[in-house]
């Protein structure tokens, strides 16, 4: 919403400065978006006369001017403009002035030996257009020494505010003036109804066929009008707010739309077919050629204004071209109606038509204004276009907008904390906003809500959660009904009074040492992220949606997870795993010359009806080159290492964790695993990325990835740890090498060895794996270190030998392995 200050001052009597007005607007919820104040930038530029212009003694293209700036002193100015001549009246910049177009500050100078104490400006230098063909050439009678901006009528700053969706009443200069007056910045000038004597019966009548289309409408014709251009003041106002002046009649409707927030429409009576304008719902197949030149295919949900030949306006949104007024109009018919906000909002959205009328009707217009607005509009048209007015045509019933609200002063105090608002102050604010006191005592005040405040005790049902128990829902609804009007009033009082007047109070805490902000599960997620970062991975945040085709490489892409209105074709499918996003990122990094990356993300994997929290990561390329460690390709064991590190950090008992090979299809089938706890719970997957997936994503180097499903990890148990096992005797370690089928998992051997003697053996670990020409085909050699922990006495050789035999027997039994000689 934009308005020039001069327009505001026709509604507000005020001594306040522009700065005070802006500050106040910001405070009371009418946020200032910007101020266009040409006069401010040009404040010091004065009108000056060239007393004498002579050729510059040392430059062919320059002239030496003697300039009278009106203060009695003559200035020497060097000027290069071709039109600089004796007697020219122009605009002078003095030393210290900032030239708007260039931002440079003017200084006294000397140009080729001639002193220059100022500058005669071109229009472009002042930021007033593109004209740089010469200096500004003003009429000879322009007042020498006066401010140029003031003389040119540019000292009318244009204020732009953003109006929140609840404040239909503030989409008008009058409404803004009212709020400012309420906040103490002046006095609102009341609207006075003129008395207009009808000269003839209205040539058109209204018929409301369907009240859904319109509840209430007034109209009046004016005949004998001359629809020329509107006067300069109106054109200037409209131009200032970005509206193109069209003709007097159309400009008057805009004057009321912006001035009073009261959209009007004018029909050309000669173009209306039949003597009746009908408010009805449109029929399928009907269309409207609107004033914006577009044709709208109407639906039975659209309320329209129709004559005999069909729709002539989308009611409350936009008028039609065929019956619009133009320069040939001699008789117009002013429409002033009340439309249903919801219907306007839905129709406007359906046809994607944004007009100033729609913006006001969908927020709600002043319910009591139509009669007064029609009188005022008639008067303005008579003044600007001449002619005589008809009787008023009316249909429907005026809306019932009257309602009361009660404010308890104690409740008001409870919002403001320490800053208790005095009852008199609160009532004063409400009265200045147009509320009228119905009754008042020491505890409360009951006021009547003004007709323009549709947001106070707004219509609108509760939409309570369906799962609420009936009694709880009813009690809450009753509480809301009782309290909502009061809340509306409290908001008004505090808004106008200024929220900055309320002293801040630190939130009291129940105890000085607060409980943990995170649940154990939430802490776990944070810890997973840190663990991966500490393993050299960079934590990423990536979009949760991606191209459907890419997503399909990583799992199911159900229709239910496809975005219906994607912003781009490659962001239309909710991702099945963050691994997909990270591989895309790795590919982008490789394209930038960084093929070796380790990226992780704590993010969602989407499934129909649910989302999983996943700690995911990818490692692509090779390990760093280093003098002590050779660089190598990343492999599935790196991903497994990341998985186990996260699980260990999150307190998963690692002894119970198993790895199976049934990994998802985006991994290499022979080099990927699933980490399980028990047969059902999948904690994680890891592995080398399938070569086909790599190829599809343009990743040249080796790539591995993993996903840890944080939701699958059981809640940590709060168990006290038992006493540590601290035997008095030294452990004994023995190595065994086995020849075994390459298909046997090493873990089978390790577990068999570990389980061979449950009292003595405390650890078993594979420390060597060899496969090669020296072994029979299909066989590998696996070496296990077994730790024996004596508890009662040092072990004898015989005892050790006995355990060794048990180990070999157990391993052979479990895996078919043979001890290597």
């Amino acid at each position: 919403m934009k308005f020039p200050l001069s327009w505001l001052k026709t509604h507000l009597e005020t001594e306040a400065s522009l700065e005070e007005i802006l500050a106040c607007l910001n405070t009371i919820g009418l946020e200032v978006e910007g101020v266009e104040d040409k006069a401010r930038a040009l404040a010091s530029f004065r009108i000056a006369r060239v007393v004498e212009a002579t050729q510059h003694p040392n430059a062919d293209r320059l002239r030496a001017l003697t300039v009278d700036a009106g203060d009695g002193k003559l200035l020497s100015v060097v000027c290069g403009a071709p039109n600089a001549r004796t007697g020219l009246v122009g605009v002078l910049a003095m030393p210290g002035d900032t030239i708007p177009a260039t931002g440079t500050v003017l200084k006294v100078g000397e140009i080729r030996g001639v002193k220059s104490e100022g500058m005669m400006c071109s229009a472009r230098e002042l930021g007033l257009g593109e004209d740089h063909s010469g200096i500004i050439d003003l009429p000879a009678d322009a007042p020498i020494g006066a401010s140029y901006a003031a003389w040119a009528g540019m000292d009318d700053p244009v204020i732009e505010i953003s109006v929140t969706p609840n404040r239909g009443d503030a989409l008008s200069v009058h409404g803004v003036a009212r709020d400012l007056a309420a906040a103490g910045l002046g006095r609102l000038k009341p609207l006075v109804s003129p008395s207009i004597a009808p000269a003839y019966p209205s040539p058109l009548t209204w018929r409301i066929e369907d009240p859904r289309a319109c509840h209430y409408v007034l109209g009046r014709a004016v005949r004998g009008v001359t629809n020329g251009p509107s006067p300069k003041w109106l054109q200037d106002w409209l131009s200032a707010i970005g509206q193109r002046p069209i003709s007097a009649l159309v400009d008057v409707t805009n004057l009321f739309t912006y001035g009073l927030g009261r959209p009007l429409h004018v029909f050309d009576v000669a173009k209306v077919k039949g003597g009746t304008l009908t408010m009805r719902m449109a029929q399928d197949g009907e269309s409207l050629l609107a004033l914006n030149g577009k044709t709208y295919a109407l639906t039975p949900e659209d309320g329209i204004i129709a004559d005999e030949s069909g729709p002539e306006a989308l009611g409350g949104i936009i008028g039609g071209e065929p019956t619009g007024c133009d320069e040939g109009t001699t008789e117009c018919f002013i429409e002033c109606a009340i439309f249903d906000p919801v219907r306007i909002a839905l129709s406007g959205r359906r046809h994607d038509v944004r007009t100033d009328a729609r913006a006001r009707f969908e927020r709600g217009v002043d319910q009591a204004l139509p009669a007064l607005a029609l009188e005022l509009a008639t008067q303005t048209i008579l003044q600007l276009c001449g002619g005589e007015a008809s009787t008023v045509a009316e249909a429907g019933t005026p809306p019932a907008w009257q309602r009361n609200a009660t404010l308890r002063f104690e409740r008001l105090a409870s919002y403001g904390g320490d800053a208790a608002v005095l009852p008199a102050e609160a009532v004063g604010i409400l009265e200045r906003l147009g509320f009228t006191v119905v009754s008042q005592d020491a505890a409360q005040v009951t006021v009547a809500v003004p007709s323009w405040r549709n947001d106070i005790i707004a219509a609108g049902e509760l939409t309570q959660a369906p799962e609420l128990p009936a009694d709880r829902a009813a009690k809450a609804a009753e509480g809301c009904a009782a309290i909502e009007p009061e809340c509306d009033l409290i908001e008004e009082v505090l808004r106008i009074r200024g929220l900055n007047t309320i002293p801040p109070v630190s939130l009291p805490v129940a105890s000085a040492v607060p409980p943990a902000a995170l649940t154990p599960r939430q802490s776990r997620a944070v810890l997973a992220r840190r663990t991966l970062a500490a393993r050299g991975m960079l934590d990423c945040v990536s979009y949760g949606f991606m191209e459907g085709r890419t997503a399909a490489l990583f799992g199911e892409t159900p229709e239910s997870l496809r975005v219906e209105n994607p912003i781009a074709a490659d962001l239309d499918q909710m991702r099945p795993t963050p691994v997909a996003s990270l591989l895309l990122a790795a590919s982008r990094n490789a394209a930038r010359g960084y093929p070796d990356v380790a990226l992780s993300e704590l993010g969602a994997a989407y499934r129909p009806g649910m989302q999983l929290q996943v700690a995911a990561g990818v490692r692509v390329g090779h390990t760093p080159r280093h003098w002590a460690e050779a660089s190598r390709a990343v492999d599935a064991m790196d991903a497994k290492g990341d998985v186990l590190a996260v699980l260990a950090a999150l307190g998963v008992p690692m002894a119970g964790v198993q790895v199976t090979t049934d990994a998802p299809g985006f991994y290499h089938p022979g080099r990927a695993g699933v980490v399980r706890q028990g047969p059902k719970t999948v904690l994680a997957t890891f592995g080398e990325i399938h070569p086909k997936v790599r190829a599809a994503l343009d990743i040249a180097g080796p790539a591995v990835g993993f996903e840890v499903f944080l939701d699958a990890i059981p809640d940590p148990k709060r168990r006290k740890r038992g006493a540590p096992d601290l035997p008095a005797f030294q452990p004994v370690r023995r190595d065994f090498a086995f020849l075994v089928d390459a298909t046997v998992p090493a873990e089978t051997l390790r577990r068999a060895a570990l389980g061979a003697d449950r009292t003595l053996i405390t650890e078993a670990a594979i420390f060597d794996r060899y496969a090669g020409d020296k072994l029979p085909e299909g066989k590998v050699s696996l070496a296990v270190q077994v730790t024996l922990q004596p508890r009662d006495a040092t072990l004898t050789d015989a005892a050790i030998e006995a355990v060794a035999e048990k180990v070999v027997a157990a391993v052979t039994k479990a895996s078919g392995a043979v001890l290597r000689a």
Partner: protein
């Protein structure tokens, strides 16, 4: 001579030979024998010139058809053999995934780091945690009711237009789920899930169909909700001032509250912090920068979630995590947050071993 018999025979024999070709070398031999320069089909095509003109047209058409057919067969076999070769290679490349991983990661802690958004969320948690807030969560895909209806934003509400909502296909109930446009649905989830008093923050991902230099279709917000007895606007202001001064580490950071409107709060206010537009320095200069929205919880929102507004009162706020992160660190551009550019991440990442702690200073 039968025109068609020899062609059918060639097709059948080629198909048999292709089927018999067990590897790409054998396949290539078949291909050359049929389609190569001196292949059998090529020979037949060359022979066309010797045929009587009246028969040539028909014969030529048959041969071209056969050529297309044979090329198709050859290509299909090649694809099949390549797939089989890849499968065989992958099967042969089996790794024993039960082996234990190396005891150290392939890159050290110094190479890794925490994303600035993650970091900010942890800082927010630390500061609000000290004020007794717990962290609450909700899913990215929400019902229309939780995202809008519960929050007093009915279907026709003008505020809906500002939300640029992403929709997913309608479920069994005929209603389209949305990608949540703000973290405010967590307010409703929390009120439905627990009795007041409530004191939560809800950091998380949010989505809007808007993409330009200053908007990302996915971004992050943190919601705050306090429901208790005797909660005032003074508490709202105190809480937010305490947070902003701690977060930006500026003890005298100017904070301004302006009346505004949100459907789910009343009164509503926008919160500005002082800064210098010229230098970008926070807490200096005389300009104001809008940083978050807040207000007293609207009675309709309380009632929608089964809380009696006569008994309970509270406040809510929401702020953009990217915005406060960019302001705190002087980061100029929003877009790189989601691009996972190694160079950007290394520059802005924070040390995982130094998480935010009030004891050490956030």
């Amino acid at each position: 001579m039968s025109d068609t018999n020899d062609l059918a025979a060639l097709r059948d024999s080629t198909a048999q030979q292709l089927a018999a070709a067990a590897d790409l070398r054998a396949w290539d031999a078949v291909r050359v024998a049929v389609l190569g320069k001196s292949g059998s089909l090529t020979g037949l095509l060359k022979g066309l010139g010797a045929i009587a003109p009246e028969a040539r047209k028909e014969r030529g058409a048959s041969l071209n058809r056969l050529k297309g057919e044979l090329e198709g067969l050859v290509e299909a076999r090649r694809t099949a053999l390549e797939e089989a070769a890849l499968d065989a290679r992958l099967a042969a490349e089996r790794l024993d995934v039960t082996l234990s991983p190396r005891p150290f990661p392939p890159s050290g802690a110094e190479a890794g780091g925490i994303h600035p958004i993650s970091r900010t969320m942890e800082e927010i948690t630390a500061i609000f945690g000290a004020m007794g807030f717990a962290v609450a969560e909700g899913p990215d895909i929400e019902s229309d009711w939780l995202n809008f209806g519960a929050l007093n934003i009915p279907e026709h509400h003008p505020a809906r237009q500002d939300h640029d909502t992403f929709y997913l296909p309608a479920g069994a109930d005929g209603r389209r789920p949305v990608l949540r446009t703000h973290t405010s649905p967590v307010q409703a989830r929390t009120m439905l899930g627990q009795e007041p008093p409530i004191r939560i923050i809800a950091p998380g991902r949010t989505w809007r169909a808007d993409h330009d230099a200053t908007h990302s279709p996915m971004f992050h917000q943190v919601e705050g909700l306090v429901i208790d007895r005797g909660i005032t606007l003074g508490h709202l202001k105190g809480c937010l001032i305490d947070f902003l001064r701690a977060f930006f580490d500026i003890r005298d950071l100017p904070v301004r509250f302006r009346a505004s409107y949100f459907p789910f709060t009343e009164p509503s206010m926008e919160v500005d912090i002082g800064w210098s537009r010229k230098t970008g320095e926070l807490g200096k200069g005389s300009d104001w920068l809008e940083i978050l929205g807040s207000g007293m919880v609207h009675p309709k929102v309380l009632a929608n979630c089964g809380i009696d507004p006569r008994e309970w009162q509270g406040f809510a706020f929401g702020m953009g995590i990217e915005r406060i992160t960019m302001l705190k660190h002087g980061m100029p551009d929003l877009r790189p947050f989601y691009e996972s550019d190694l160079r950007w991440l290394r520059h802005w990442a924070s040390d995982p071993l130094s998480p935010p702690s009030l004891a050490e200073g956030v």
